[in-house]
């Protein structure tokens, strides 16, 4: 991979209020490959309890002449809150906020789909698993709607679906065999094990039995259906290992594309800020 000078002299700050080695790492690599300086701040949730102290933290980092904040936070709306309160020249990227959104994940997902199956209006896409708690699902559905995908399906038990999920522009299936029929793309979601305690699910075994992606079930989809997963995967819980590692899986391609897409987003966002509007770049 070639290192680019695009963000040389820029400072990208990873503001992670929620632990995430994987997402943090991809943003850090993306920034470094654009020659930016990267600062990573893991901010314990406790110190951010008061809105006031969060704003003071932000203003201080802002005063250190940083150019971009990459924000991961367990509360929905955190990145937008931050974007509204920092100076306009600072770019804010949402790296996941509560159950709300994970836009860079959605962009790498649609980028990956597009490289294999670019005709979105004619695609059948199924998203399977814990839709209720998934910011990945919400952002992906949003992106697919923008791209004109007409047949978006969610496959999940009632307990793992948001109320009135149909209003998002999706069709609901509770039976995975029906839902996967003839789809082009299967997006499996990670099952957060801590959901088990909340009595939303009987057990991992039963979840796999009802909603796990096996080779047999995948055979119901189109022969060239792509298998996707935002990672990290729970083998034997939401996906069978043979499917995860099989020829239809693009799970690792998603990871590779994640760096490229984040580099692109960073370049465009900071490039926009670096040049006056109307100037040719």
């Amino acid at each position: 991979m070639k290192k680019l000078p695009t963000l040389h002299g820029k400072t990208v700050v990873n503001l992670f209020f929620e632990a995430s080695t994987r997402t943090r790492t991809t943003f850090e690599l993306a920034a470094k490959r654009l020659s930016a300086d990267v600062l990573t701040l893991n901010i314990a949730a406790s110190s951010a309890v008061k809105g006031e102290s969060l704003l003071d933290t932000l203003q201080n980092i802002e005063a250190m002449q940083c150019d971009m904040f990459v924000v991961r936070h367990q509360q929905s709306g955190a990145a937008e809150f931050i974007a509204r309160h920092v100076k306009p020249h600072i770019a804010v990227l949402n790296a996941g906020d509560g159950r709300h959104a994970h836009p860079t994940q959605a962009m790498l997902d649609v980028f990956t789909i597009r490289r294999h199956k670019p005709d979105f209006p004619n695609l059948q896409i199924a998203i399977v698993g814990d839709i209720l708690h998934s910011r990945v699902a919400r952002s992906l559905i949003h992106a697919l709607n923008i791209l004109g995908a007409a047949d978006i399906r969610v496959i999940a038990p009632r307990t793992l679906l948001p109320a009135q999920v149909e209003t998002l522009g999706v069709r609901v299936f509770h039976d995975i065999k029906q839902g996967l029929r003839e789809v082009d793309v299967v997006v499996m979601l990670r099952l957060q094990r801590e959901r088990m305690e909340g009595a939303l699910l009987p057990s991992e075994q039963e979840f796999f039995q009802r909603y796990g992606l096996t080779g047999e079930r995948l055979a119901l989809a189109k022969p060239d259906a792509m298998v996707m997963h935002p990672g990290p995967i729970n083998r034997g819980v939401e996906i069978d290992s043979r499917v995860a590692d099989g020829p239809q899986s693009v799970i690792l391609e998603q990871v590779t594309n994640g760096i490229a897409v984040r580099m692109a987003i960073m370049s465009i966002t900071l490039g926009h800020h670096a040049h006056p509007v109307g100037e040719e770049v």
Copy 2:
């Protein structure tokens, strides 16, 4: 902010024996913007209990061909101890040692004052709060004396003043209304909440009532008086939010200047080492 090649190929080691995200971050940014490689070592106080093992740690890092140590330590004299024991080509910066000194903070403070009010001999400067435990206050008083400031005031209760503080070249006030009268600069100190337990202070509320900087009290100073604070601020404890965020506050400007001043100190210090004495640079 432009990135400079000044310290390209140099290695700056942050040796932090005491946690400090803020100060560490500013030194890290300063070094990176000078193109240095930065290594951050958070050394638990426990492993530094024996002087011998501290020296072994130092000698090892020294043997790794590092060029600068930035030292933060809870014991007074630590940076000087280290400077005396490392090889002469290694630059040692004190980033705060016990109650003793915090020279880069003092330098950014006087730099900030100078940009607004450069005539030090004719300035009235008041430092307010916990002088006793404050390395910031000690270093600032020292710097102001060097610059010829004739009227330096400390405003604090008896329990938060060092014995014989007058010998530092300051005038003592216990009443903030008297102390602030006609001053050009008000420097508020952070109140360490852990001091409360030591029975040095009755309560945060009472401290604010007697020594907190309110708009009403600030009105006693000159109309263009600057409000400073080394941060992080305790809103409602030593300073009212409206004053901290008000037009006379230069608190965030101090943060911005902190990077520039530390870049300057690093450049001068390592530049001095990089060129033989007498050579024109």
Copy 3:
């Protein structure tokens, strides 16, 4: 130290499953001085309990287009396991695996010996202390055998020697006075204090009394005998401070050489991968 552009655009990942500030730091510095981007991942042993999840972690980092893994792991064979499972273009360096091997340490050790005493076939080398648990000893013995050293001695109590240690090509001494006689090089090993609990050793004091390197004992070796130690040293346990800091000690020189040797290993390894075989470089 000059910074080289050799690995500009390459990403080196420190995969540390076992804590080691010192070794990690030397690899990090070596990579940065070759202009590589460095990513450090401290992976808790717990998350690596399942081989499957370790492989998933590896495949993900691999998919992020990294070029080199530096692996430290508490299990023997971990680095080789990883090397067998990553794609062939990724270079894997073993930075210490269980009791098995620590090859870069051995290479810096023989590099250091060679600068002072290059005639390996005619050298007498004694390795003293806890051979049983030492990957440093195993790798060093291996390297010395390759270089043709004919007289390699291990000096240790029976409880700290592996079974059939003679098959490694060494002579065994239980009496340090006999073992050190006329040697050119003395390599002291670090005594892991946690071994005491295992009843392998009576006490630190008794260990020092029987096997500690004192000036008196060193006098039995050749007058120009070199004193080495992989660090960190336990003063007064395996080595007397006067010897560690004395004129025959090259302990800090080992640290300095450690950076250079690791830079060389990284350059050669990634250089090999970067150019097709047969192409002139």
